[in-house]
């Protein structure tokens, strides 16, 4: 590179860094610079922390400059493309490898109660991500209230068990059916909506469900939630510490151990998640799955082809909601206690973030994103209040490096002749 080019780049980088610093200053001057404290007399006291603001702004300047000078020039050329093809190619082996690890996880030495609980949590979100992917990734319907169906599933099981004494295995399909029913119910008013408008209405729907659960005290217990939800049995054999002949440990002649239930729950959610995955993959090759994808691409063209838009949208909502219902019932039986607090908007946002980070429509991408999001969140626990900061930064980095999500390519669902994948980075945003 010639000298003037270099100088020009340095100038541009300096200007860019200065702009970034200005933005940072605007943000931090209020958020960090001013702080209210309660003085000993009880009056509010305004404290200023200009030094901290200066340090933060300086850090932004230096980092931005460094990024513009060293990171940026290399990123698009090598980093992104390499990461892209690498991930796509590795995906062929990566999926089965991930599944194998998931299958033997409880028996890997060093995996204790905490790791298994984390595994259950991650798998719950993998399942929710795969379920939401049907609605958002395949059918292209932006749903911000997905957690509502999760709540419907959880409360269905809790209430059916509490009032009618039904067992988990009977309630599981019922929870799915009820959630699907609510999915259809949400689907009707939003049939004509798309994009932003749809997002707002689904967001409101999620809140409505939560607020009803919160205020219908006589049925749901309101903010106190429902406790004492029966734990699942191994096809009728309870996991009890007594070790009697009617229990899981007694029946199989094992030493009673609390880890049996955890391992069982782990395999239960693994099974449910794999069921979701299997159904999603199978259905993508069916006419209805193709109709969903077509709907995502172009609704008017779908009409012109004779696709029944109403049915297509409703089935997407219903199927997506059904898997959230299953996950909800699982959540209720695992926690043995549920309250509306578990079903806030942030849950919907996390699930949606998993789907988007994973690359809309990609099954393996969603699994990886769930591990990164939920597992990473746990990993950064030691960082205390900086956890969200690190987490947010990690998401920004992912979206900058992989704007279409971790796995942004889409494999055709039908082929004559050779298999070919088209990476998302080769085609323009949105229009394909």
């Amino acid at each position: 590179m010639t000298a003037p080019g270099k100088a020009g780049r340095l100038g541009a980088a300096l200007l860019d860094a200065a702009k970034a610093m200005l933005v940072a200053f605007g943000l931090f001057v209020v958020m960090v610079g001013l702080r209210t404290d309660v003085s000993s007399s009880g009056a509010l006291l305004l404290r200023t922390r200009w030094m901290d603001v200066a340090l933060l702004c300086a850090a932004v300047f230096v980092l931005r400059l460094a990024m513009a000078l060293w990171v940026r020039p290399r990123l698009p050329a090598a980093g992104s493309a390499l990461l892209g093809t690498g991930l796509t190619r590795a995906g062929l082996l990566f999926g089965p490898a991930l599944l194998a690890v998931a299958l033997v996880l409880p028996f890997i030495p060093g995996i204790g109660r905490y790791e298994l609980d984390l595994g259950i949590l991650v798998l719950t979100y993998v399942m929710l991500g795969w379920g939401l992917n049907i609605v958002v990734g395949l059918a292209g319907l932006l749903d911000l209230g997905y957690v509502a169906f999760y709540a419907v599933g959880a409360y269905s099981y809790a209430l059916l068990a509490q009032y009618f004494g039904l067992s988990f295995w009977i309630c599981l399909p019922l929870a799915g059916i009820l959630a699907a029913f609510w999915g259809v119910l949400l689907g009707f008013p939003v049939l004509r909506l798309r994009g932003d408008y749809l997002a707002i209405v689904t967001l409101a729907f999620g809140e409505i469900i939560r607020i009803v659960l919160l205020n219908w005290v006589s049925l749901t217990g309101g903010p106190n939630g429902i406790s004492g939800i029966p734990r699942p049995t191994f096809f009728g054999l309870p996991f009890s510490m007594s070790g009697g002949p009617g229990t899981f440990a007694g029946f199989f002649g094992l030493e009673p151990s609390p880890s049996h239930r955890v391992i069982f729950l782990y395999y239960l959610i693994l099974g449910l998640a794999l069921l979701t995955n299997w159904v999603a993959i199978r259905i993508r090759r069916q006419p209805i799955g193709r109709a969903w994808e077509a709907l995502r691409e172009d609704e008017i063209a779908c009409r012109a082809l004779g696709i029944n838009i109403t049915n297509t949208k409703l089935t997407a909502f219903a199927l997506g909601a059904m898997f959230a219902g299953f996950a909800g019932a699982f959540f209720a039986t695992r926690q043995a206690f549920i309250s509306p607090e578990s079903f806030t908007f942030i849950e919907s946002a996390i699930i949606l973030a998993i789907v988007v980070l994973g690359g809309l429509g990609s099954q393996i991408g969603i699994a990886v994103a769930a591990i990164v999001m939920i597992g990473g969140f746990e990993l950064f626990r030691d960082l205390d209040e900086y956890r969200m900061l690190v987490f947010g930064a990690a998401m920004v980095v992912i979206m900058v490096a992989r704007p279409r999500g971790l796995v942004g390519s889409r494999a055709p669902s039908v082929l004559l002749g050779e298999r070919r994948r088209i990476d998302a980075s080769l085609v323009g945003e949105g229009r394909g």
């Binding site: 109709a291 063209a301 012109a304 082809l305 004779g306 669902s413 088209i422 229009r431």
Partner: protein, 239 residues
């Protein structure tokens, strides 16, 4: 083959307060290519969409092969032998060419297998590009795909909305040749909406001129081409 494939009687429709069609009557006989020419905003695309039931007719009747389809839901109309290649092509950009074609059949509840070789024979380019994404095709190929996708449902009546839009003259001639071939070999009935009146009237047996929601002229393709006022009419009319 005698008989009328499509009969539109006094059709009026619009969007909200805007009246796009003000009582349009036309008919398309079986085995005919009929073209509808007119300027931007004359209501050509609205007429095609309205035949498909979206927007719905406010007054008037639409008969397909003698059957009243005015009040039928769109997806049922599209399953009863009508297919449309919509304006601006509207192929599914992130789906492969093959998926686009298969959808054309499956969306109308048909098996794609028997029709696929015919479409590939008509547009060999699509066979070459079958595993490519729709969005990566050139404009002409996308138009072939849009027509091919419409043909996959084995329609009795094909509605084509501006197939020459944004195409190089050579490519648009290829597309028109394919339409003629379909009509001559398979006896397919075609209602063609075009701005390129010259080319459309040469291809069509008959034509109608639509000016701000009303039919102002009709006649055989050659007849209309010969009329001096035709140029004015399709450029906007109403002097």
């Amino acid at each position: 083959m005698p008989g009328t494939m499509l009969e539109v009687e006094g059709l009026a429709t619009g969007y909200g307060a805007v009246e796009a069609l003000k009582g349009v009557s036309l008919h398309v006989d079986k085995g005919e290519i009929v073209t509808l020419i007119g300027a931007n905003g004359a209501g050509k695309s609205t007429l095609l969409m309205s035949i498909c039931g979206d927007p719905r007719a406010r007054t008037g009747r639409i008969l397909l092969d003698g059957q009243d389809i005015t009040a039928k839901p769109t997806h049922e109309i599209m399953r009863s032998g009508v297919a449309q290649s919509p304006e601006g092509r509207r192929i599914f950009p992130r789906m492969s060419v093959l998926e686009n074609l298969i959808l054309g059949a499956q969306a109308a509840g048909q098996d794609p297998a028997p029709q696929l070789p015919k479409v590939f024979a008509l547009f060999p380019r699509l066979e070459e590009r079958q595993s490519q994404r729709g969005g990566t095709l050139s404009g002409g190929e996308q138009q072939m795909l849009a027509i091919g996708r419409a043909l996959m449902s084995r329609p009795r009546l094909l509605l084509l909305d501006e197939p020459s839009l944004g195409l190089a003259p050579l490519i648009s001639r290829q597309i028109f040749a394919a339409i003629r071939e379909l009509n001559e070999r398979e006896g397919l009935t075609v209602l063609l909406v075009e701005q390129n009146a010259n080319q459309a009237l040469r291809l069509a047996h008959r034509g109608y001129v639509l000016v701000t929601g009303r039919i102002t002229m009709s006649g055989s393709g050659a007849e209309l081409l010969a009329r001096p006022e035709i140029r004015d009419a399709y450029l906007g009319g109403g002097h």
